[in-house]
């Protein structure tokens, strides 16, 4: 990942994190605010509900009181006390209920039995437990003829007999339904849904089997001002909790799969006089506002984040242009320098650190070039010095015998002719030999300076190794043991050939390769004056072929390894020091590599890596 990408990522992350943090904070805050508002609204509604409930209770009580105090009721009570005959009043309750606009009305006689019932006329004569209620008004579930029950707010008042000294004889039990119309009268805030769940179990008087303490939840019994309620089944846990515990319970309900349809609901149990829960009033405040706000904020956050990221991209691009570009340039230039192109330069812009860095880089490369030049010059000088020294050394060796010989000749001039002839003969022989040696040395140098371009041919590297081995170890070529007629002067050196079973083709100049291998073999033989083992092997290494020339001689020090391929560097007493340079040159001309693995006393292994021939191209 480059700096630009890192910058981009970093800036984007930064922007995203900041935006996310801000958005999350805002969302939390909004949620908190909305929830607080919901709680306040719910609390307000509950207090208003209680007021409305009391108001309705008062209305019912007043209506029932009015009926009980009315002349008709008093006459009924009087006549009932006189005659005990309740039959004439069978339909009284219906008329009274209609006049008073009550949904329920029963006239209950002194014996506690119903005289007349508006909501269930056929129940005359049955006992009415509500007639003995102690509270002024109370909730009650009233059984109806169709087997259902309806929730109502009831009041009970006693009727005083119309005779002056009469005692209370007859009771009026009246009530109004708590149903949708009651809910409609409640002051619901916008977005608030008021629902009522009532347990309308079967008629308790005629139940043929024991009823469970808390009947199963029935979604159909939950009604609101609009009639049915959306997602009634979702209310079940809340309502069941309120029914079981008798306490209000709250929670968030998801009425559909959409978050906008979630509500903040509170279930308030409505209890009878005995404390049993008859109904549950649910207040559900829509969270759509909050959700929408949250979604709005999220959208804004996303937008801001996207914008921020875009800005970050632009910023990063700008920064990259201003910072990472020069840095990349610097990096590229550094790579170039590392690759050997010390001429690499970077533009110098600005006066900031990047500019200073660029200038420093340029300065550095310039210095490097200069130093390289100087080094090259120095090395060249050193190499020339070395070459001169080697040349002087090499030349001096044959030149000294030449000099001696000439001197001998000069001195032999004074000698008798016969001695002079012999001396002349030996001296001329020596002169010729030394002149040949000089010519050889000069020929080496000349060869090194005029290394030919390789003429590539595809050969099996195994054949090259065999050729070299056969050249220097014929016996080895035929067999694997060194024999006395090994042409090598060190007849104790054993040559081992490790070739592959399959051909290993490379594109090389066979002669050059032979020459390089020969140099290596010679050096290896020179390194084992007391004998040893010389191993020639080749193996494929991926797309390259690896040639190994290993000896078991003295080994090389690390320093020697470093300078080994320097022309004219040699560890031998004699030699031009060009052998390994030639090897390196040949390997380099073939786009290969040469390395040495050695340790002191552990021999040395020269490893030549050459690219394998592209067999598909052949």
């Amino acid at each position: 990942m480059n700096l630009r990408q890192k910058l981009l990522l970093l800036l984007s992350l930064l922007v995203a994190v900041i935006v996310a943090a801000v958005a999350w904070t805002v969302l939390l805050r909004i949620r908190h605010v909305f929830e607080q508002r919901d709680q306040e609204e719910t609390a307000l509604f509950v207090s208003q509900f209680q007021r409305e409930f009391q108001h309705r209770s008062a209305e019912v009580a007043a209506a029932v009181e009015h009926i009980a105090a009315g002349e008709r009721a008093r006459n009924i009570a009087f006549e009932l006390a006189q005659s005990g005959d309740a039959a004439p009043y069978l339909t009284e309750a219906q008329a009274l209920a209609q006049d008073a606009q009550l949904d329920f009305l029963e006239i209950v006689g002194p014996d506690g039995n119903i005289v007349s019932s508006a909501q269930w006329p056929a129940r005359f004569g049955y006992p009415e437990p509500a007639a003995t209620a102690t509270q002024s008004t109370f909730l009650q579930s009233e059984d109806l003829p169709d087997g259902t029950a309806a929730l109502g707010l009831f009041a009970v008042r006693a009727v005083r007999r119309s005779d002056p000294g009469g005692a209370q004889a007859v009771r009026i039990v009246g009530g109004k339904r708590l149903d949708q119309s009651f809910l409609a009268d409640l002051p619901a805030a916008p977005g608030m849904t008021i629902s009522l769940y009532s347990d309308s179990g079967p008629n308790a008087n005629t139940a043929t089997s024991p009823q469970p303490a808390t009947p199963a939840f029935d979604p159909a019994r939950l009604v609101s001002t609009a009639g049915s309620v959306t997602g009634t089944a979702r209310y079940q846990p809340l309502i069941d909790s309120a029914r079981k515990t008798g306490q209000a319970s709250s929670g968030i309900l998801y009425l559909t799969d959409r978050r906008e349809d979630s509500v903040s609901a509170t279930a308030i149990p409505l209890k009878s006089e005995s404390g049993s829960v008859l109904a549950v009033l649910t207040v559900a405040i829509s969270r759509s506002g909050m959700v929408e706000a949250q979604q709005h904020i999220r959208a804004i956050a996303y937008g801001v984040a996207a914008g921020g990221i875009l800005l970050a991209i632009l910023a990063s691009l700008w920064i990259a242009a201003r910072v990472s570009g020069p840095i990349e340039q610097l990096a590229q230039a550094a790579e170039q320098v590392a690759g050997g192109n010390w001429e690499a330069r970077v533009p110098e812009r600005g006066r900031d650190e990047i500019g200073a860095l660029a200038r420093s880089f340029n300065h550095m490369t310039g210095e490097l070039v200069a130093q390289r030049d100087r080094l090259v010059q120095t090395e060249r000088v050193a190499a020339w010095r070395e070459l001169a020294r080697r040349l002087a050394h090499e030349l001096k060796n044959p030149l000294f015998p030449l000099q001696l010989t000439v001197e001998n000749l000069m001195r032999a001039r004074d000698l008798p002719a016969a001695e002079f002839d012999e001396v002349f003969r030996e001296s001329t022989q020596t002169l010729c030999m030394e002149i040949a040696n000089l010519k050889t040395i000069i020929g080496r140098f000349s060869d090194f300076s005029r290394m030919p371009k390789p003429q590539l041919e595809r050969i099996d590297i195994n054949d090259a190794l065999r050729r070299v081995a056969q050249f220097y170890f014929p016996a080895t070529a035929r067999a694997s043991q060194a024999t006395a007629d090994d042409p090598s002067s060190e007849s104790k050196i054993k040559c081992t050939l490790g070739v592959t079973s399959d051909p290993l083709f490379i594109d090389v100049d066979p002669e050059l390769l032979h020459r390089a291998l020969s140099n290596l073999v010679l050096n290896a033989m020179d390194a084992m004056p007391d004998g040893g083992t010389l191993t020639l092997s080749a193996q494929p290494k991926g797309e390259t072929a690896e040639l190994r020339v290993a000896d078991t001689g003295e080994g090389l020090t690390p320093e020697e390894c470093e300078r080994l391929f320097t022309p004219y560097y040699t560890t031998k007493q004699h030699g031009t020091g060009l052998g390994l340079a030639i090897v390196q040159s040949v390997v380099a001309d073939h786009h290969g590599d040469i390395a040495v693995e050695s340790r002191v006393g552990g021999g040395a292994t020269f490893v030549i890596t050459l690219p394998r021939a592209d067999e598909t191209a052949s």
Partner: protein, 449 residues
């Protein structure tokens, strides 16, 4: 019981207009209001004014001559021959013939007639049956077998409405059925010129119209008799001639006779009689009232919840349907019965009659059409859709039949109720027929010109 009859009669008599009978005046239009359909069978007012039967029930409970002047039976009451009254014409002038009578009776009951065959023989009509029909004359006096000119439809869509009675159909518009006096009626022209029957009028509106003089004769349901007296209406009431009973299906859930018996024990007749019908009824557990038989006390009307539970035996039958037709009192009675049955462990739902469903229980009113016990029992059983067994003419035989029928618990008598109507000040000489229906043919109006 006789005392009750006398009292009823006396009550009826005392409630007549507070004046001695003046000589009848001819003319005038009698305005009648009814809640139901005056053409309905049985007991429709218009039917009784427009149509006659072969026989008519006398005040002594025996069948007297009407369109038939005499009759005889042979072959142990398997064959009856009725000789028609000569000189009688339908209201459109068609002479009454045996063929017309046969056609009319065949149209009435078709294959469901009590007789097997019916033939016109000269001026006589001959009935033959596989089982003896000892009370055929009384049966033919019933409202179901009035003779109409077959094929003569009515503009109102009502059944055939051309008969031989004292009144004839003239018009029906705006809910008012107009019947005009039949000048050629074989019984003599009625005193009234016209009778206007306003149909489907609520009870409240009927009484209101009566009180302001817009109506001359209105209905008074049994449960409102006391109220009518309190409002000082002039009421004419019959003895208890209408039997309130529950008919019980013997199929489905109630094929078990123990369940039917449990139902019989579960019903609280006292509450229905004393409260719903305001003590105007007589509680009964027998099909015939005491004044007809003298042994109705042998059938106990007491409620026994324990027995009901015992007979139900812990079985909880499926939901039973109790159908009812009639006014608010009938509906309330049905509701009360449903409540009683629920107390006994039955699950009952009240529905209006006519709903297309299997009927388990039906609350019905069956009318006594004769004051003779055997014909009366026969008419009750036929009206209830029960088989009519051969019955002896003795009280013991009658008791056996009644006991046998009631032990099946397919009919549960509850109470007997009177039929009544209220009349305005100008109505004279209103009598009630044995089944409690007002006999308008003999009515005259006080202020008729």
């Amino acid at each position: 019981m006789l005392r009750q009859i006398a009292i009823s009669f006396l009550v009826a008599v005392l409630l007549l207009p507070a004046a001695a009978r003046t000589r009848p005046h001819y003319g005038g239009t009698l305005r009648v209001e009814v809640e139901g359909d005056p053409w309905q069978r049985p007991g429709g007012l218009a039917r009784q004014m427009v149509l006659d039967g072969l026989t008519a029930m006398g005040t002594d409970g025996t069948a007297g001559p009407a369109l038939a002047v005499e009759w005889n039976s042979d072959n142990d009451n398997h064959r009856w021959q009725f000789r028609l009254r000569p000189g009688v014409h339908f209201q459109d002038g068609t002479p009454l013939s045996s063929a017309n009578v046969v056609a009319s009776l065949t149209a009435i009951c078709g294959a469901g007639c009590p007789w097997t065959a019916l033939h016109a023989v000269g001026s006589s009509v001959v009935f033959t049956s596989d089982s003896p029909l000892p009370n055929l004359p009384e049966l033919l006096a019933g409202d179901d077998y009035r003779i109409a000119l077959a094929g003569a439809g009515s503009p109102t869509g009502a059944p055939a409405s051309i008969g031989t009675g004292p009144f004839q159909f003239t018009a029906f518009s705006n809910g008012v059925l107009t019947l005009a006096a039949n000048d050629n009626c074989w019984q003599g022209r009625p005193f009234l010129d016209e009778v206007e029957i306003r149909v489907h009028r609520s009870m409240r509106d009927q009484w209101l119209d009566l009180s302001v003089g817009r109506a001359d004769l209105v209905e008074v349901p049994a449960e409102q008799l006391r109220q009518a007296h309190e409002q000082r209406l002039t009421v004419v009431a019959s003895p208890p001639v209408s039997l309130l009973a529950i008919t019980v299906s013997d199929s489905g859930a109630l094929s078990n006779p123990n369940l039917r018996a449990a139902i019989a024990f579960a019903v609280d007749r006292s509450a229905i009689s004393n409260v719903i019908f305001q003590k105007q009824g007589e509680i009964t557990a027998s099909l015939l009232p005491a004044e007809l038989t003298g042994y109705s006390f042998l059938f106990s009307p007491d409620r026994d919840q324990n027995k009901a539970h015992e007979l139900r035996g812990g079985v909880t039958p499926p939901l039973l349907t109790l159908t009812v037709e009639g006014g608010p009192a009938m509906q309330l009675a049905a509701q009360r019965i449903a409540l009683n049955l629920r107390d006994a462990g039955f699950n009952v739902q009240v529905a209006s009659a006519g709903a297309p469903q299997h009927v388990d229980l039906a609350l019905r009113r069956l009318t006594l059409e004769s004051s003779q016990p055997q014909p009366a029992l026969e008419s009750i059983l036929r009206a209830a859709g029960l088989a009519v067994p051969v019955m002896e003419q003795s009280p013991e035989g009658l008791y056996k039949v009644e006991r046998q029928v009631l032990d099946t618990h397919m009919i549960i008598p509850l109470l007997y109720l009177p039929r009544a109507c209220a009349v305005g000040g100008r109505v004279r000489d209103l009598l009630l027929s044995p089944d409690g229906a007002p006999q308008l043919a003999g009515v005259s109006l006080e202020d008729a010109p």
